[in-house]
Symmetry: C2
Subunit: 274 residues, 2 copies
């Protein structure tokens, strides 16, 4: 099997994103290897050995996605037997012309703590994570004044991972509130603590079959996990979303990245991080 | 100020990563705008209007980073007055030649739930998030058998955001365990529940000044936040890391992405997600 290398003198997150986007265009089965913080000639030479070894083992030329700032380190990698792709190199000149500005590459700037030169932006992202944790699962409803968004849904519809992703990735203070059997599902109303914050609420829902599968992993054979109960809860909660004009999303076919991006696209919430 | 647009018929996460990496090479002040899920001609035309309006308002040509799969939608965007950069387009031919395979672009594959065609990989990532939440802050020590890694450190050294990032981004089950004053700092030993799992432990530490600032935001003027206490705790915990041969990292100058990538680079933990 062909090996794909993601290599950088920084985190290699950009090389991974670049390579992953490229590979998604091809229906190929490959093995992935990330070599991050390759920030000395010695480390670059070790990386080069790994690349050449992968070629010898599989007989297929490794593919290398890299984003080096240091030209000397890059030269060690491009001298290997792998096929290397360097998107920074290709686009830097046209972008420099467009911005009318010389490039001043600094290692480790993309994912550093000084986002756009501002430490505050990073701190506010960590603050959002702490907020979302403290406001997970309906705790701390007194803090909803500070929420950027409040995710609503029945148990196991993806509220928690979505809140954490919104906080970690975008610096958004995302609370989440669960609808439970105590909420009188047969006559479901918007819970009182949420009424004042209606404009911040976003609903999540799922297909009944998927919810049944997820809940069955938790409590197999329970009423809670039964197809009938899942179908009933989802039907009632969607009715309420419509009645209360709460925007909502069926997350069955979406990853947490997609759910978060869709919520941002629908709500025009401001990203605190790029 | 110049506006940078990140546009895609999917999440636009790749366009953001691509553009952000390119812009990090230039010391420029810009405004960022993401237009995600531009998946119809109507939406593409609305996006085109926004791009042209940004040009008219600022007098500076907007820069567009885009990753469209649909050629028709892309044409609407490239016909605007913005300067557009399309890295997929440029690299697709050489990669196709290298892989000896035709590209079969499918919208929304990069960040979809079918990571590399495998739903299980996505589910295990969500499972890792649930694990890390349940094992935050020393709770649930009975589950440490399942941990991929256990982060250790005194209060407020970044254990929680790092665990969550490892889980969300890489599908790694990351528990975290806090060292507190109850642990008898003057004679600090590796806590008993951790002794069996010593090989999974990774320590976090900070500079005393930074820890003092962070703790002061929580409890200003307390003994807990005092420079003296912060210095003492960090000194004792670092002594213990060295004595017990626990790998550790001073996270003062690093973002959560960098900390996570450094931990992976040092421990050779397997990523469950690319």
């Amino acid at each position: 099997m062909r090996t794909i290398f993601y290599i950088s003198d920084g985190t290699a997150l950009t090389a991974e994103a670049f390579g992953r986007a490229m590979l998604s265009m091809f229906p190929s089965q490959v093995e992935h290897k990330t070599l991050a913080f390759i920030d000395s000639i010695t480390k670059a030479e070790q990386a080069a050995k790994k690349i050449n070894a992968a070629y010898e083992e599989s007989g297929e030329r490794p593919v290398i996605f890299h984003t080096f700032v240091s030209q000397d380190l890059k030269n060690v990698i491009t001298a290997t037997k792998g096929a290397d792709f360097d998107f920074l190199d290709y686009f830097i000149e046209p972008l420099s012309a467009e911005l009318n500005m010389e490039a001043k590459p600094i290692t480790h700037r993309t994912h550093s703590i000084q986002e756009n030169g501002v430490r505050d932006s990073y701190d506010s992202r960590i603050e959002a994570v702490n907020y979302s944790l403290a406001n997970d699962d309906g705790s701390n409803i007194s803090d909803y004044d500070q929420a950027d968004i409040i995710l609503l849904g029945v148990s196991r519809t993806g509220k928690t991972p979505t809140s954490l992703y919104l906080a970690l990735h975008y610096g958004i203070k995302a609370a989440n509130y669960p609808l439970t059997e105590d909420d009188d599902m047969e006559n479901l109303q918007l819970p009182k603590p949420l009424k004042l914050h209606r404009h911040k609420i976003f609903g999540l829902t799922l297909e009944a079959q998927r919810l049944h599968e997820i809940r069955s992993k938790r409590r197999d054979g329970s009423r809670y996990a039964s197809m009938q109960q899942c179908r009933f809860e989802l039907q009632e909660v969607e009715k309420m979303y419509r009645r209360e004009a709460i925007p909502f999303l069926d997350s069955t076919r979406f990853s947490v990245e997609e759910i978060a991006a869709k919520i941002l696209a629908e709500t025009n919430l401001e990203r605190h991080h790029y």
